[in-house]
């Protein structure tokens, strides 16, 4: 086996190829300095706006690179950094997602009294996204690990930005510890792989594995299993997901969205590349070693199945929306692992476009749902599902957008999520993995119950903001329906009145608990003003995020074809060569 030299010098032309990452890095340094110079009061929105500009600039650079290279693969630094269309598409997705999250941050950060360092909130997203981009491009275990740590360490900081909130501190601490454990597993697994194959290059590992298997079969298994476990923690796949609930709950909502979309997406992309570039080593000549490959992919499928089932079942009784979205992220990690775990088979090589399409659908619906949640939780002053009560009256357009996100998350038409799941299902069926098809469909159906729980709150419950007198015939009074003639109250009216009283009681109880234990450090004026008029105020940046996500979710739900074609056209993921 020819051993390549690991360290090749970086040339000027290489710098041009890596322009998006490098430019973002420079932009980050610039913003750090700039924050010191800007007056403290004005700086957050300026820094936010400049971060957004930087992200959009990088987006354009990646796009230009893609158009220029035209499907050609560029390898840098001794094939340790690889720019192919798989990586470029992922980078576009990460950059777009981060841009949406920055917009979301612009809509929320000013009102968040707990966050002291509002500038960091934005510019720290830059190194995080550089980490994610590096992960997408890495073709070498070392590069991969560097990208991973860059992303992880900055996210630890971002999660803990609400320093004075105990929930946030707890979240940050948990995230650091579990993140550290996961990195340890990954590194440990990598060291085994390096030990038995003598290479850190993915291609080198792939070439050396069949030989290594003869001597060190157990070590190969151990290495891959460690890495699968480590990455399963990163993508919050069951049974390694427990941290995600607390972390999502404790972190600022836009950051939770970042973890749910970019961190998860980047780790999934690495799993994708790792599994297909190294573990898929004996597919061309199905010799004895192919068993190992099949078993490794089967383990990925097992993790997928566990995530889907656990994520949906645990969410059934979850009333905190952020924790609910975290569990939804667990289930979705399972859906993402399906196109990875079914591997390439004779009749099915379509995994990448299934994966990417669902990633884009997931981006839209998850960021959309988190965006709605930022507005709702601010109006309500808490993260519970009750905060959505009567939202249809308070903010009908947002409620309608939320229906779209919920339908998409549940995989119901007409939404992007439906086609995302449909393509994955079609692929899994063609790969003859019927059991995973059944589990996927089953978990989708179970998930209807809790996703529709949000709809139940938004459309079928009275909101806390209504005046007490209106509660007995809550909906009717709202729209000016003349109340029943007093002489002949029908039993229905009585029953409704009863129901109304129960709801009022619940609302009062909730209000009293809120008054008793206000969320640590929350500025008292914000939630109260949201409650008083009942209308949920949507800041314009949040409005843009919700609008863009809703329109695209609907658009992809009606016309998924063009995006699918686009993904297929720019398709240059390397198949393992033999």
């Amino acid at each position: 086996m020819p051993e390549q030299t690991l360290f090749q010098p970086l040339t000027w032309s290489d710098l041009l190829v890596m322009a998006p990452e490098l430019a973002l890095g420079a932009w980050f340094v610039l913003l750090v300095v700039l924050e010191l110079l800007l007056p403290r009061k004005a700086s957050p929105s300026w820094i936010g706006g400049l971060t957004l500009t930087g992200l959009l600039g990088a987006f354009v650079l990646v796009l230009l690179r893609m158009i220029e290279s035209h499907g050609e693969v560029i390898s840098l630094l001794g094939d340790s950094y690889r720019i192919d269309d798989f990586a470029s598409l992922l980078k576009l997705v990460f950059l777009a997602a981060t841009a949406l999250i920055v917009l979301l941050g612009l809509g929320t950060v000013q009102q968040d009294g707990v966050i002291a360092d509002k500038g960091e909130y934005f510019y720290l997203l830059l190194p995080a996204v550089i980490g994610a981009m590096t992960m997408a491009s890495s073709q070498n275990l070392v590069t991969l690990y560097i990208g991973l740590e860059l992303l992880s360490i900055t996210s630890y900081v971002l999660v803990g930005l609400r320093r004075k909130s105990s929930l946030s501190a707890e979240a940050a601490f948990k995230y650091v510890v579990t993140g550290g454990i996961s990195s340890a597993f990954i590194l440990f697994g990598m060291s085994y792989l390096y030990g038995v194959t003598g290479s850190v290059q993915l291609a080198g590992i792939n070439a050396a594995l069949p030989g290594a298997l003869e001597q060190y079969e157990a070590l190969v298994y151990a290495g891959f299993l460690m890495m699968i476990v480590g990455f399963a923690i990163k993508i919050a796949a069951a049974p390694f997901h427990a941290w995600s609930l607390d972390v999502y709950q404790g972190s600022p909502t836009p950051i939770a969205a970042f973890l749910a979309v970019v961190s998860k997406g980047a780790a999934l992309a690495v799993v994708f590349r790792l599994m297909f570039a190294t573990a898929l080593f004996a597919n061309s000549d199905r010799t004895a070693v192919s068993g190992v490959s099949d078993e490794l992919f089967f383990i990925v499928l097992l993790v997928a199945a566990a995530s889907m089932l656990y994520g949906t079942l645990a969410a059934l009784r979850q009333l905190n929306v952020k924790r609910l979205l975290a569990l939804s992220g667990v289930a979705n990690a399972g859906y993402f692992l399906v196109p990875i775990g079914i591997a390439f088979t004779v009749g099915h090589l379509n995994n990448i476009s299934e994966f990417l399409f669902y990633l884009i659908a997931y981006l839209l619906m998850t960021i959309g749902a988190f965006a709605v949640h930022t507005a709702v939780s601010r109006a309500a002053g808490h993260d519970e599902m009750k905060g959505y009560a009567g939202m249809y009256y308070r903010s009908p357009w947002t409620a309608i957008a939320m229906i779209l996100f919920v339908l998409s998350l549940a995989g119901l038409p007409v939404s992007a999520g439906f086609f995302g799941k449909l393509f994955i299902l079609l692929g899994a069926e063609r790969a003859q993995a019927y059991w995973i098809v059944v589990i996927m469909v089953l978990s989708s159906v179970i998930s209807y119950y809790f996703y529709f729980g949000l709809i139940r709150q938004m459309f079928m419950r009275s909101s806390n903001g209504l005046s007490p007198g209106a509660d007995s015939l809550d909906f009717d009074a709202e729209e000016g329906y003349p109340s029943r003639t007093p002489g002949s109250p029908s039993p229905l009216a009585l029953k409704e009145a009863e129901a109304g009283q129960i709801e009022t009681a619940a609302a009062a109880e909730q209000a009293s608990t809120e008054a008793a234990e206000p969320e640590a450090g929350a500025s008292p004026s914000a939630p109260v003003s949201g409650l008083a008029d009942g209308v949920i105020r949507i800041p314009w940046p949040t409005g843009i995020v919700i609008g863009v996500c809703a329109l695209l979710t609907l658009g992809l739900g009606i016309m998924p074809g063009p995006l699918m074609e686009l993904i297929q056209q720019v398709f240059s993921f390397p198949l393992p060569s033999h």
Partner: protein, 539 residues
Amino acid sequence: MSGLGQIPILSIILLSPLLGLAVIQLLPRQRASWLKIAAVAATMVPLALTLWLYADYDRQQGAASYSETYNWVQAPLKMNVGGDWFFSFQYEVGLDGLSLPLLLLTAIVTSTAALAAVHVKKRWKSFFSWFLLLEFGMIGAFIARDVFLFFIFFEITLVAMYFLIGVWGYYNRERAADRFLIYNGIGSAIMLIAFIMLVNTAGFHIVETAMNPQYIYSGSYADILRNLSDPGAYVNLPAESAGGNPFALGETKQWAIFILLLVAFGIKLPVFPFHSWMLKVHQEAPPAVVMIHSGILLKLGAYGLMRFGLFLFPDQAREWASVLAILGVINLLYGAILAFRQQEFKLVLAYSSISHMGIVLIGLAAFNEIGMQGALFQLISHGLISALLFLIVGSLYERTGTTELPQLGGLARSMPFISGVLLAAGLASLGLPGLSGFVGEFLSLLGLFESMRWVTAIAVIGIILTAVYVLRSVLKITFGQQREELSAIRDARFIEALPMVVLLACIVLLGCYPSVLTDTMQLSVGGYMDLLLATRAGG
């Protein structure tokens, strides 16, 4: 050549409720009367167009005349075999003797239900928005000719119904809506698995073009049907042939798909062990919505069973004819016996629906032309009758505040018109000759009698039970002792009487002159029987 063949009439019918939906969005939400008028007008458009279509339907030309196809999703696939690979889902709508009567039923029942929605007391704007979306979904499901298009329309009805039950229903509305969602969700999930298996095997075909051959996984119903009935298609070649054939649909898989479809549509129909959700819906949903649910959505289950279960897998269906017949008889008897025991009129009607859906299964199980016609006729007839009955339930509840049988009585004195219509609807439901219920029951049982005499003999007991429970509850409501507080109630207003008269007129028309319907159905049913009798691979 018919005049309507020139314009995309089906798409216009399909989109007209959406147009109404858009108009409603522009109206102010407090103006109940404007919203109601707009909604009724919006349902009149598809009704008028469908009636025109029905009159115009060229019975000699059959399905071909109104087909519209548009390439909707053409997703390329990565494949290591040369040529272009695609998933191809079509926006394809079409008509045949099976769809057209159901389409007309949808239009009629939706219009009358829109009129019946005068009883809706709150949130009119969103009520009518979901209502029109529901109509869009139903029309789409009946005319869609692509499995995934069908699935999407089917799911649209699911979501719209969830809102209509959950927001505007009675006291336990949310629980009813949840149960509806979960049961039907499971049903449609099973259907989706079956469709995916179908598309990946039977949907596959190769189109030779000038450049590259195109390998297409198609969701088109016509492609699937053609491939399944063509012994030379990939789907019917053995799996081991020529280096492996991933498109083979062996005996086992065919059975698996057939049974999946049977369960999926059995939940919707509903077949006996899967019926509990629909009782809740009948009990809790507002009357206008139950009219649609009982009148059309249950028929969607039967339609799906016929279109995808029976038409695509006739051999399997014929082998399981006795199973279908027995399920039908169980439905018939179970529904009838439990209907007799109920004190709540809405539940009597719910069990009566189960019972009447049993007759549909019996007609399908006969596997001859008469039985098939009977089943279809029963679908239409029951759609009209149950819509009429729930229309009356809505008016009754509005006046008396209850639908419990012990609380009612002697209403014929204070509201003779409604009571008269109720009696007529009851008589139609129990199968009095001259009304539409008779024709459906008679044809179904006659068809089954040719193939399974003993089963038919048992089924006839159900007819007697039907008469008993219908008369028991109808007479209890109209005659007998009247409670004092009910003496002051008034008879139907014009706005209530109009839909009653329309529905009753349809019932009488079908009862006295059934060939209005049977002639249209003839073509499809006849064609299907030819298909059954023709030699098929493995058949």
